[in-house]
Subunit: 272 residues, 2 copies
Amino acid sequence: MAFDIDEYLVKPGDKVDLSGIDTRSTPFWDPDDKEEGKAHLPDLQQRMESLQELLWAEGRNRVLVVLQAMDAGGKDGTIRHVFEGVNPSGVRVAAFKRPSEKELSHDYLWRVHQEVPGDGELVVFNRSHYEDVLVVRVEELVDEERWRRRFRHIVEFERMLADEGTTIVKIYLHISKDEQKERLQARLDEPNKNWKFETGDLVPRAKWKQYQQAFEDVLSETSTEFAPWYVIPADRKWYRNLAVSEILIQTLDGLDMAYPPPEEGLDQVVID
Amino acid sequence: MAFDIDEYLVKPGDKVDLSGIDTRSTPFWDPDDKEEGKAHLPDLQQRMESLQELLWAEGRNRVLVVLQAMDAGGKDGTIRHVFEGVNPSGVRVAAFKRPSEKELSHDYLWRVHQEVPGDGELVVFNRSHYEDVLVVRVEELVDEERWRRRFRHIVEFERMLADEGTTIVKIYLHISKDEQKERLQARLDEPNKNWKFETGDLVPRAKWKQYQQAFEDVLSETSTEFAPWYVIPADRKWYRNLAVSEILIQTLDGLDMAYPPPEEGLDQVVID
């Protein structure tokens, strides 16, 4: 599969119209070959595993993956499938839920900055500072003047991280309103999915259009050379897993990593 | 004393020439009235104490004071004298020394951001992120391209803090090379000051001019409306204490704070 990740890239300055992006499209895989697509994932997981081992061994780069989506958009499932098999020593998932009182008493980037990757680490943000221009905006938790200023803060924050050695990849999992309905319904119907259902999830669903508008602004205002957004059609989970894996693999491949040279004289060592 | 703090303000865009600023000047106090000057400090400490209590009780504003100076420039002494009597529950000093291995494995703002004030807090940075464009620059710990980019990071970081509700005051304690010699000598000569002497302090002293140049760039590049620098003549400790106190008092005064309104019906409460 020659997978051109630029297909999904939001070019800096582009105005994004989400309604024009088909949530079921699979341009790099025949949609009738779903089973073959699923069977291809382990190959990608293996590549991911090797690249992450190299990242950790070299200890020079830092990688930050930001995952955003509507509820039931597949953030948890993506993390589970794409990172299956990686070494947890060098990989960390930071989930940003409703902020605590202590977090709210600081600026919104405070809790986020604490979780950014260190040397050799790969950190996945399951939700992120973008919630502070998404839910915070739609639910009118701060006034417009205040959340509008945050686009600049966020771009400059990410610029600083990038300048200082962090590779940033931001992924929006794009699902349709119908697909969300099906997934939420499954959480109601299937006992072992009940724990994932929260009545609160129906609130953003009722404001679907406003959230899509807020996501469009995020994608349009904050996709940069140093911290690009990718919009992934995510109604088909198997394709979504392939697409996200490809983006991360190609990004890690681009880092031009190498194992550190062995200690000198290692070939003379005799272990008795 | 009508103390005009704007006298010490670095106006945004100004090019600072430190050699043109007299480290012994005392424009708002007769230098012959040193004893009266010293006797005036407790009044200022009391005002500081009241304002900080209000800040803490109101719990709405956040105040960040950044202190920078050459070694023996008086950072510790300033903190001791200016903040004598404040309530430690709402005041915190964060000292940034040589970064740890874990800190070095992250961007230079990582450890600093963790220490910024929360609601109602006043935090003093004894040294700060500015070391990453001062000692790091002069000692060539990173290349010029990299430290030059940091001016922008820092300005944008402080803009974000300010936009989100932090009042920032940055103070450079300006001493002469002769005054530093005297103070370092005292650390050698007086047994109870020996603990403050580090041979390492002689290294930056030997590069005095380069450090002054680096400070001039910091002051010129990063003094903004939302995070202004003040340059305080600091050879005379008694005057320095008055000047720093005045700056902080007038800044806190400008916040227009008020105690939260009492719970309703409080006047009906009978305690038996």
